[in-house]
Amino acid sequence: MAQHALDQAPAPASPGAGAPRPGTSPAHRPPGRVRRALRSVVPGPTTDAGGAALYRRWWLPWLWMAPAIVGTTVFGVFPFLNTILVSFTDAKPLGGAYDLVGLDNYTRMLSDPDFWLATRNSVLYAVIVVPLMVLLPLLLAILVEKNLPGIGFFRSAFYTPVLASSVVVGLSWQWLLSDQGLVNTWLQKAHIIREAIPFLSDSWLILLSAMGLTLWKGLGWYMIFYLAALGNVPKELHEAAAVDGAGAFRRFWHITVPGVRQSMMLVGTLTGIGSLRVFTEIYMLGGSTGGPGGADRTLPFYIRDVGLDPLTGNAGYGAAVSVALFALTLGLTLLAQRLTKEDES
């Protein structure tokens, strides 16, 4: 049957081109329509040898890459360069002309205690969230890796928070953590606490709760990464180690972890970048001031406050802080890579 289906492949569009000419495999020739189109723009001989030569033109790979390159440049590289440029100006959303102000924005930034508070919060976020986000999804993946009956339900359940919108998740967490919310009510009913824990009015607790939210929402996503990686760890190694008397922990540490090392580095980098960009979690739990007194503001929060108002924002200053955030992200990523490399050697 299968053979027959192949025989029924669509007939070539142009008459006469039906039977392959000797020495030419149709697979290596562009479809007739493309060939004709190319012929009309490329002067010169139109023999098959010429057609093949066409594919060896130096610019052809660039042509294929052009859409991606243009997209990246217009929406990635250009805004990036423009941000750096704007960070040396006093640009505003309205008002047209703007002046170069040299390093003014940067000196203002370095002398603003609010900037340092936001930096501290962002770095703290990364330092606490990244290790947990590298480890916990791995454990979760090991838990649901085996094909047991009904395991699909648990995999889906762990993945569900990923699909929910941040705002919905944020609202649910508000209800969970409020003074009369589920967590406090339960703890009070169980006589573990008497007064409600101020999850949503103490600045440290807001920050920790936001980290919890990020972790909870990210677990399922990175679990998928690890599930894929775990599939590549040779089963034989585990079996051999088990035969040699290695316990579960030893096998995890000496076989699983080295096996998914690449994924761990990837997850570490991605969550590192993500946790420096946290905004929604803080906003949902700490409100638009970023916690009481603005004590939970992260760098993106600070950028929004100083630079993103569409009418009165200071775009120049906002750009300067964005550049600082970029430098911080790049710095931490490089540092992490360096540490892992040293570890390896």
């Binding site: 959303p93 047209g96 009481p292 603005g294 009418l311 200071n314």
Partner: protein, 456 residues
């Protein structure tokens, strides 16, 4: 160094190499005889002298998210206008009004393509007037203010590029302000719904009684100071901004510290939910759950409660807003502006005036889907706003607000979101007992001043 040319060249080189149109942040082109906001405009649109020209040609008219519910009304107004002025055509654009709406509007203005007639709020009116994107009505249409409530018209003034306060917008509809409360809970706290407070600090005194009686089961109102600033202060007669609008002065008035202390006391005594200090909770929802004594102050909220929590609605009482030292309410209406970059400014102005005239405003206000109050004197006297049947809170609120709107002014202090956040953050610290009221206010004022200095 004037860097406009340099940056523009650099940006354009980058842009060219990417085949991208537009040059980043640079403004409109200069040159030409008449300019406004960096755009070349018709000579007649700027300078002195009344606007002249025939009412004809095509103009664009932009509203924000109104087509879905009020398409028929607007299409009716537009066709009536076109019928009265043969040769004139109005192209209606309804922006969805999402999070990037203001950015789009600003981009339009910068690109010299602001819609000819545009619906804007007070913050946008301030920014567009300052940058010259709106027609100066004092010069171009000196009698434009006639149909409007005098108090409202006199206060709808915004500073132009030179700092002169001018009329650049026509007042349209507003939402109004009114006290709302849960009668049952008020009585439980030993308060008389028939004797609502008449001052802001009087409200706090009543709220203290609520705190004492409630035992954490219900509250006076939510704690987040953002919900009460700057309305409370303005009502108390506190001078929030200097006359030139360049520095904040609220911390210099001892009454502001009294207000912060009242907030702090009430928060400490349990008159407000502790977890609402900085939260985004919507007071309308919490009131609807029967957990708040005092509800939000916009009459539109009554309609919301009526639909979502009919039991609580029936217990809801209304009263005139605390007029306090100010003696009248404040609330900037929605505005209609005419672009100074309009190619058919005479037509645009004629349509803006037609849209905001007494007849058209009243017709819309009568739509059962809206709770809005017209800005024209003649409309507010209409029997529609005066009739109260039975004890319906909504109808009573409508009557109270319609009478208040005759003395209400538009000089609401329009804090930018950044300023509001900076000020509120400090007051939150005071309410948590981490700072004294005076220190918090001083810090709030200096941070807000820094934002003015750094902002536009």
């Amino acid at each position: 160094m004037r860097a406009r040319r340099l940056t523009r060249t650099l940006t354009c080189i980058a842009a060219l190499s990417l085949a991208a149109a537009g040059c980043g942040l640079s403004g409109g082109s200069g040159g030409g005889d008449a300019t406004a906001g960096g755009c070349e405009v018709d000579q007649g649109n700027v300078g002195s002298g009344k606007l002249s020209g025939d009412v004809k040609g095509t103009i664009t008219f932009q509203t924000t998210n109104l087509k879905k519910d009020f398409g028929d009304y607007f299409n009716g107004v537009i066709s009536a206008f076109e019928k009265a002025h043969p040769g004139a055509k109005v192209k209606w654009i309804d922006d969805p009004g999402d999070a990037t709406f203001t950015q789009r509007l600003v981009a339009d203005a910068q690109g010299c393509t602001l819609p000819d007639v545009v619906n804007i709020n007070v913050n946008t009116a301030v920014a567009l007037t300052k940058n010259g994107y709106l027609l100066d009505l004092d010069k171009k249409a000196p009698d434009a203010g006639e149909p409007f409530v005098p108090a409202l018209w006199k206060s709808s003034l915004y500073a132009d590029a030179k700092g002169t306060k001018v009329h650049s917008v026509l007042p349209w509809y507003s939402g109004g302000i009114v006290q709302t409360f849960n009668d049952d809970l008020l009585r439980k706290a030993g308060l008389d719904p028939a004797k609502p407070p008449t001052t802001v600090l009087g409200l706090f005194e009543d709220a203290e009684k609520v705190a004492k009686a409630s035992d954490g089961k219900y509250y006076a109102f939510l704690a987040n100071p953002q919900l009460r600033i700057p309305a409370d202060w303005q009502q108390m007669g506190i001078r929030i901004l200097s006359a030139d609008g360049k520095t904040f002065t609220f911390a210099d008035d001892p009454k502001t510290a009294q207000w912060v202390e009242a907030m702090t006391r009430l928060y400490k005594n349990g008159g407000m939910p502790r977890d609402s200090l900085s939260s985004t909770q919507d007071p309308a929802n919490v009131y609807g759950q029967g957990k708040l004594v005092y509800g939000p102050t916009n009459p539109n909220f009554l309609r919301f409660i009526q639909q979502n929590n009919p039991t609580v609605y029936k217990k809801t009482g209304v009263a005139r807003f605390m007029l306090d030292d100010l003696g009248h309410t404040v609330g900037a209406p929605q505005y209609i502006g005419v672009a100074s970059t309009s190619k058919n400014a005479a037509t645009a102005l004629a349509f803006a005036q037609f849209l905001t005239d007494a007849k058209n405003q009243l017709e819309w206000a009568k739509d059962p889907n809206v709770v809005i109050f017209p800005s024209t004197t003649a409309s507010l006297d209409d029997p529609f706003f005066q009739s109260v049947e039975g004890d319906d809170p909504f109808a009573r609120a409508r009557k109270i607000v319609a009478s208040d709107r005759k003395t209400a002014t538009a000089d609401e202090i329009a804090l930018t979101p950044g300023e509001l956040n900076a000020i509120s953050a400090q007051i939150q610290l005071a309410m948590q007992g981490k700072k004294s009221a005076e220190d918090a206010l001083k810090e709030a004022q200096s941070k807000a001043n820094e934002l003015i200095e750094q902002g536009s």
